[in-house]
Symmetry: C2
Subunit: 539 residues, 2 copies
């Protein structure tokens, strides 16, 4: 029966409203279309594969001959490592396992070792008190004079520095770290205990953190624990300098972080105000960049409120942010709101405060960098933060995990070229998903969305720098055949979507290109010397 006739029949028999449901598009397909023979088929198939390759991040990158040789090496290892896991009952695939457990597996990966060497550009999504390896806090900060610790009933360790005798602290009495360490049977064990106590690391994360709320609770606690050390003025400055140092050592040349700009204390009980904090960050960006002028491009801070406070506080922060941006144009980028998004106040509830800059005459320039869509709950106020972030003209979106459920937001993000800051390990450890191959950013990569890869709070889960997250992006947010072009483009993206001025970006890209060429040469040299892999990236 002719399709059109049969559809008309259906229309009749189904009644007046059926045009909503029945068109001949819905006709069940029994006819063959297109190619019928093997050759034509293979040609059509290759066209689809090529079309998808030409949609992916990195599609516009052309590798030269030397880069192609390095790519061959990289891809040999990528394929080897994936296939080792893809075999029936094969080896565990690190990105599919909670990073709190898989970290040692990642470190054995040759792909990871290559990524460590690679100049990765900029880290654009970090937080003030979780950038530095906790080992530094343990081995440096807790070894300083006047450092005290207390252990509460839940065996959680807190720290503080005191000039004289510490005050009474019922439930968690202060003891000198120096004395406690001296009493310990084994200093390394003692230090290891401090490290573990301040981190999320645990042998059985599913058991320790059965829900997202439980893991966020413990996560916030670890930040509190670290802050007792970090917010001591002398440590505060050193901590930030060390953060820049660690990222630089991981071949990251620029960073932007969200900062709460906390009160910082001195031994005598006096405190430093927010102005001191912002000036300290500004000056340390300057100092570190000057100390490493052939390696490092600088960075910027993003002032952040916590998404639980009354709107009046947000308004005051917005005004402060405007002030700091005028005061420190080189190192102050804008404003954001942080904290667990699901139980937090949605952006729209802070609308008047957040519209303040645009409602001035003339409008005041304050770039936003909103966290949005860090949730599994679709169609909820939290989920709608994605809409508000875009309508509030955010410069980038922090996480944007839920974006693929929002086709209109996806369109706007692509049209307006708003970068999505993807932090794969964070999303896994903080329980948005378990297997990173299911991360929605795989689709953003496949469609060349403006994506940057970052690390969020690497210290808390025992990562350092960007390399672990770049490894996850390369191995799990892209396919087995996706190659060096993706990595190169992700590095370039990170500079392009930074808050740098055009001139700053130009300089940063020049420096990055030099680093990239050196990386390619180093890789080739190493292979030529040893005749083969494995590389020793620490050599």
């Amino acid at each position: 029966m002719d399709t059109r006739i049969s559809c008309v029949l259906i229309l009749f028999s189904y009644g007046c409203c059926s045009h909503l449901y029945l068109t001949d598009e819905y006709e069940f397909k029994t006819v063959f279309r297109g190619v019928r023979d093997r050759n034509g088929y293979i040609k059509a198939r290759n066209e689809v594969i090529l079309a998808e390759s030409n949609m992916r991040i990195g599609r516009d990158v052309v590798l030269d001959k030397t880069e192609q040789r390095v790519n061959d090496i990289l891809m040999k290892y990528k394929e080897l490592e994936i296939n080792k896991s893809r075999t029936l009952n094969g080896a565990p695939f690190p990105p599919s396992i909670d990073f709190l457990v898989s970290k040692p597996m990642v470190e054995k990966s040759q792909v990871f070792q290559i990524i460590k060497l690679m100049p990765k550009g900029a880290a654009l999504h970090l937080h003030d008190c979780s950038m530095v390896d906790l080992n530094w806090l343990v081995k440096n900060a807790t070894y300083r004079e006047n450092c005290y610790m207390c252990v509460n009933v839940n065996y959680t360790v807190y720290f503080k520095f005191f000039g004289g005798t510490p005050p009474s602290n019922p439930g968690c009495p202060w003891k000198s770290v120096k004395t406690e360490r001296a009493k310990a049977r084994n200093v390394d064990e003692f230090d290891r205990m401090l490290y573990m106590n301040m981190s999320l690391i645990t042998p059985d994360p599913r058991k320790a953190y059965p829900t997202i709320d439980v893991v966020w609770d413990r996560f916030s606690q670890t930040l509190d624990q670290a802050n007792g050390l970090i917010n001591y003025a002398p440590v505060f400055a050193d901590y930030f300098y060390e953060a820049l140092n660690e990222f630089n050592l991981d071949n990251v040349q620029y960073l932007e972080f969200r900062g709460l700009f906390p009160e910082v204390y001195e031994l005598d009980g006096s405190t430093k105000d927010r102005n001191w904090v912002v000036k300290t960050y500004n000056d340390l960006f300057e100092k570190f960049t000057a100390d490493h002028k052939h390696e490092f491009s600088g960075g910027k801070m993003i002032y952040s409120g916590i998404r639980v406070v009354p709107e009046i506080d947000i308004l005051n922060q917005v005004k402060e942010a405007i002030h700091y941006r005028q005061l420190y144009p080189d190192h102050f980028a804008g404003y954001d709101l942080v904290g667990q998004e699901d139980p937090g106040v949605p952006l729209v509830k802070y609308l008047d405060a957040l519209l303040y800059p645009s409602e001035q005459t003339p409008p005041v320039d304050l770039p936003y960098f909103f966290h949005a869509g860090e949730t599994d709950w679709e169609g909820t106020p939290t989920d709608n933060n994605l809409i508000d972030a875009v309508l509030l003209n955010t410069s980038r979106i922090g996480h944007g995990y839920a974006i693929v459920k929002h086709p209109q937001v996806m369109k706007m993000v692509k049209e307006r070229n708003i970068a999505v800051e993807v932090n794969p390990i964070s999303n896994q450890v903080l329980l948005l998903l378990s297997d990173l191959r299911n991360h929605p950013a795989a689709e953003l990569v496949a469609q060349d969305f403006p994506v940057v890869i970052s690390a969020d709070d690497p210290a808390v889960w025992g990562a350092q720098g960007l390399s672990y997250d770049f490894y996850m992006a390369f191995m799990a947010l892209s396919g087995e055949t996706t190659d060096l072009r993706l990595l190169k483009k992700l590095a370039i993206n990170s500079i392009q979507y930074s808050a740098m001025t055009p001139i700053e970006k130009s300089k940063a890209l020049n420096l990055w290109r030099q680093k990239w060429d050196a990386f390619i040469q180093r890789m080739l040299h190493q292979v030529n010397q040893s005749g083969s892999f494995p590389l020793n990236p620490f050599g």
Copy 2:
């Protein structure tokens, strides 16, 4: 500085190839766009929300007044149940937990109870030996005369019927089920043991099934266990009739299943060939539909090879399928390949066999219904099955789990209106993902892709019919505010994307509409009678 000038500067300083990376699109955004005041903002915001609502499955459904009243009740419960879990440290959210554990929670849901009552249309993705509640096999099949069981060293129970004394079966000696049951302390416990032994159900799925290969291994074993009972000729026919019965009782009026068309045995050791099997299915579709002519619309079988055999076997099956389609045009729909996709042979390796129908002169009509993309491994031969399914002109895609990683395949699927058969619980139990809120079909729902919801192998994980999977689609593959329009459209989709002829579809839709009206009336009546919920759907 003017943007254009600064970009030219960047271009210069970065060198000749930089046009690949730098356009002024990449410029960091500091200017405000669009609305600046609260009213304009809220208007723009509502437009985005409306735009997304108008992109979703169900966008073209208009509810009348009575439907709207039922929708209000449904949405009250949806919101209540979601918010109970969304609260900080709230109740577990069933779709986020392995169905092997969450099933009793689902059954407590009022939303689930409403969905059970709803006429759901057709179940289009099922398999021959996993459609009927295992309790039926235990309580009916194993109670029949001549039924024997054996328990192997791994405590796995197998079954077979024998006319005389069973043959020696070293390692797994046959014993009469009747005798064993009589010896048991407690018959219910004995039967419960048989049930559990044949299912995947276990209190700690993560421990029992640590990997996808382990769960597939056990899954295949449960199918083998059931087949010993099902493939006994008298049970075979009754099993299939019972399958139609159970889906009918779950308010499903039509079904299509993939069948391996196995050898069926008689007590005397003789066997029934494939022709008998196909005729039996055909006749039982006819009989059940005749027995339930005001309730049931019928069904079709899809012959399926296992994706491990040599190509010559596939070619022979394709030829058989062409033959059966000519012989039983009313109940034979086409061909597919089944089995764990990752370790299986990719479709492209069977290309010549699968192109056979289209290469005949004139081309022969054999609709395909390929399983494709039931994988987490992107960019692999398995993942590329999605490309081959579409190029081989598949009528629907089984699972299509990986489709969101394939933008070109997505385009083709939308243009050609190829339905994606989504089986949420199957994907969770068989470990493609853990939390169903991360299921990629959420995005297909958000963009009104041609989606149908099905149940795959419900018996194996203790589900019955379609309701459990519809519940998951409603609660986890769509947002909190997505309503009855989605459910109604999913039911209509299931008929539209079936392999029915236009005339058959027309009849089925008429019947479905009557059922739908009755459902709406029943819901209103129940609320009017009792004054409130909870409904008792079994009353």
